[in-house]
């Protein structure tokens, strides 16, 4: 059975960077960041493309984010997505997972969908909330932290990871939403011709009207959300930090190992 697949992709600042807080304390400084596709979403995208290759069908990549996300969407097209959709709400921070999920759900509603895939978490905000929220809002069967997916007719079998390496296996009926875990597959690289082609492909933009809203602030929410402030984390730790040249550090390291009795001499 050909599948209508929708995969939700988020563009995040590279988390290996160091971050500064903006003067108003409500966001990080975003002027000098480089952005990339969220880690878990690479696996979600790969899973969607593999499901298409196996079962036939189409993959639509959806994101919510500013214009800069087009680069990520083109990468998704080059890796096998057939269509790219951007919910054109340009808030660079978009901290409220509940609002994001309601916008994503509204967009998914406009697309045919047998399977909706998300990542297990966004590495910038680590909510692990968006997939489950979208499922709840749309009334889709769902499974989280999925490491294995097999479509069997009108059902899908999934393995869901628990703590300590345990997995629970379920089957669920389509349409369903799955949040995909790191390592579920081996993501591919985009071949050069596909990258060239994706550069010319159109990206569909959804404005508020397309989602049934008068404006971006008109999303009905059962709460009011606010950012009180961002700060550098209050250091819990008191590690002895060892600076110096590598040789000096090595001397100290060896000394620590000797002092604590891990090596004899």
């Amino acid at each position: 059975m050909p599948l209508n697949l929708v995969v939700c992709l988020k563009q995040i600042p590279n988390p290996d960077l160091q971050f500064q807080i903006a003067p108003d304390g409500k966001d990080i400084r975003r002027d000098a960041l480089n952005y990339k596709l969220n880690g878990a979403d690479e696996y979600a995208l790969e899973e969607a493309v593999r499901l298409k290759e196996k079962n036939g069908g189409r993959v639509v990549a959806v994101t919510l984010g500013p214009k800069r996300t087009e680069q990520m969407l083109r990468e998704a097209l080059a890796k096998g997505a057939d269509e790219a959709v951007r919910i054109a709400w340009d808030d660079p921070a978009a901290f409220d997972a509940g609002k994001n999920a309601r916008l994503l759900a509204a967009a998914v509603r406009t697309l045919p969908h047998d399977l909706v895939l998300t990542g297990v978490q966004s590495d910038d905000y680590v909510n692990s909330a968006t997939g489950g929220l979208v499922a709840g809002i749309l009334g889709l069967a769902h499974a989280s932290v999925v490491t294995r997916v097999a479509v069997q007719g009108s059902r899908v079998e999934v393995a869901c990871e628990l703590e300590g390496g345990l997995q629970r296996v379920y089957t669920l009926p389509l349409p369903a939403l799955l949040s995909i875990q790191f390592g579920a597959n081996t993501p591919r690289y985009a071949p050069l011709p596909a990258i060239m082609k994706a550069a010319r492909q159109p990206i569909k933009e959804l404005g508020p009207a397309a989602l049934g809203l008068s404006n971006w602030e008109a999303v009905p929410l059962p709460y009011a959300f606010g950012i009180r402030g961002l700060s550098p984390p209050t250091a819990k730790g008191h590690a002895e930090m060892i600076a110096g040249s590598v040789e000096e550090q090595a001397k100290r390291f060896a000394q620590v190992l000797r002092e604590k009795g891990f090596v004899r001499r």
């Binding site: 909330a129 709840g136 669920l172 790191f182 950012i227 009180r228 984390p233 930090m241």
Partner: protein
């Protein structure tokens, strides 16, 4: 008694998840802030789990037991449908769920289905008047955020495991109230098939005294040889962060963390590991933690006892040389 705090217990194979006891500790000051320290309940969903309910009653919380054959195994639909009635009748101000794999599934599904506010992965929560203030960590633990939510609906909160200290049982026992569960089993769409366990071959990391773990910072599979050589020199074994086992650089048995092994060696050396919460969950109780990382803001330095801001690929060989000298 309406309002207050409702905790959702987590259990597997008749064992209570340790995170549930942490939720009890989180609930206490919240219910106090709401004006009645005793106005907190804990819901146990399952089948044949009265023993778990009775045990939890020893923490002097009212226990609601929601027993139904269709709840014998966790399913998102089953749990959401079963708890819905309890949420509607007890109208809690806050619903506490652990930020575990099951919590990732259940908390947002409940919030999405019942149109409730949700804030996840919190280190701390507080109530200030009509606001719930949550402390979270963003961007690889490098930024702390305080967010606030105002709502007249129950607010679903997930707490990061290990963020607060678990509570021991108190004196006295509270009651276990069996709550009738209205549940149509045919409307539960997820069908549980089986529980799979990791096969244990290879070495058992959890018994090792010295573990030298490699993370993505070692950059290339070939560099594992260096980590192995170092581990051998100090009588240890090699562990890893998840990306390395995902990429098959090492077998899954070597993975330390939430979804891998929990270890408690005398010495843990983290080489090129950022210190994501899921990794730290598996090694934070090691006797001596040494971290080597090029990024001075890496969160691994928060749990380390000794930290080297260094290129592991340079510091390990240099230290080997020192040890041989």
């Amino acid at each position: 008694m309406a309002g207050g705090v409702l905790i959702v217990a987590e259990h597997l194979e008749r064992r209570i998840a340790p995170s549930t006891l942490e939720l009890i500790a989180t609930a206490r000051p919240l219910s106090r802030a709401l004006g009645d320290e005793r106005n907190a309940r804990i819901a146990v969903l399952g089948h044949g789990v009265r023993e778990i309910a009775s045990h939890l009653a020893g923490y002097t919380l009212d226990v609601l037991l929601l027993d139904h054959p269709a709840l014998a195994e966790y399913t998102g639909d089953g749990y959401v449908q079963a708890l819905r009635g309890t949420v509607e009748s007890t109208k809690p101000r806050v619903i506490l769920v652990a930020h575990t794999s099951q919590g990732y599934d259940f908390a947002p599904a409940l919030a999405g289905t019942m149109d409730l506010p949700l804030v996840t992965n919190c280190l701390a929560v507080d109530l200030e008047g009509d606001r719930l203030v949550a402390t979270r960590r963003l961007l690889n633990e490098k930024v702390q955020a305080q967010v606030e939510i105002r709502s007249d609906r129950p607010i679903v909160v997930t707490m990061r495991p290990g963020a607060v200290k678990a509570m021991g049982p108190a004196r006295g026992m509270m009651t276990v109230t069996e709550v009738p569960v209205t549940l149509d089993p045919s409307s539960i769409r997820e069908t549980f098939v089986r529980l799979e366990r990791p096969q244990v071959q290879d070495i058992d990391l959890s018994t090792a005294d010295i573990i030298v773990s490699a993370g993505r910072g070692i950059q290339k599979k070939e560099n594992l040889a260096l980590v192995e050589e170092f581990a051998k020199a100090i009588g240890g074994v090699v562990g890893a962060s998840r990306p390395l086992t995902d990429m098959d650089w090492l077998p899954k048995t070597r993975q330390v963390g939430q979804s891998g092994k929990t270890v408690r060696p005398k010495l843990y050396v983290a080489c090129g590991i950022s210190g994501a919460m899921q990794h730290v969950a598996g090694m934070k109780d090691a006797g001596l933690i040494v971290a080597i990382n090029t990024d001075p803001t890496a969160p691994i330095f928060e749990v380390a006892h000794v930290g080297f801001i260094a290129d592991a690929l340079k510091l390990l060989p240099a230290t080997l040389k020192e040890l041989k000298a």
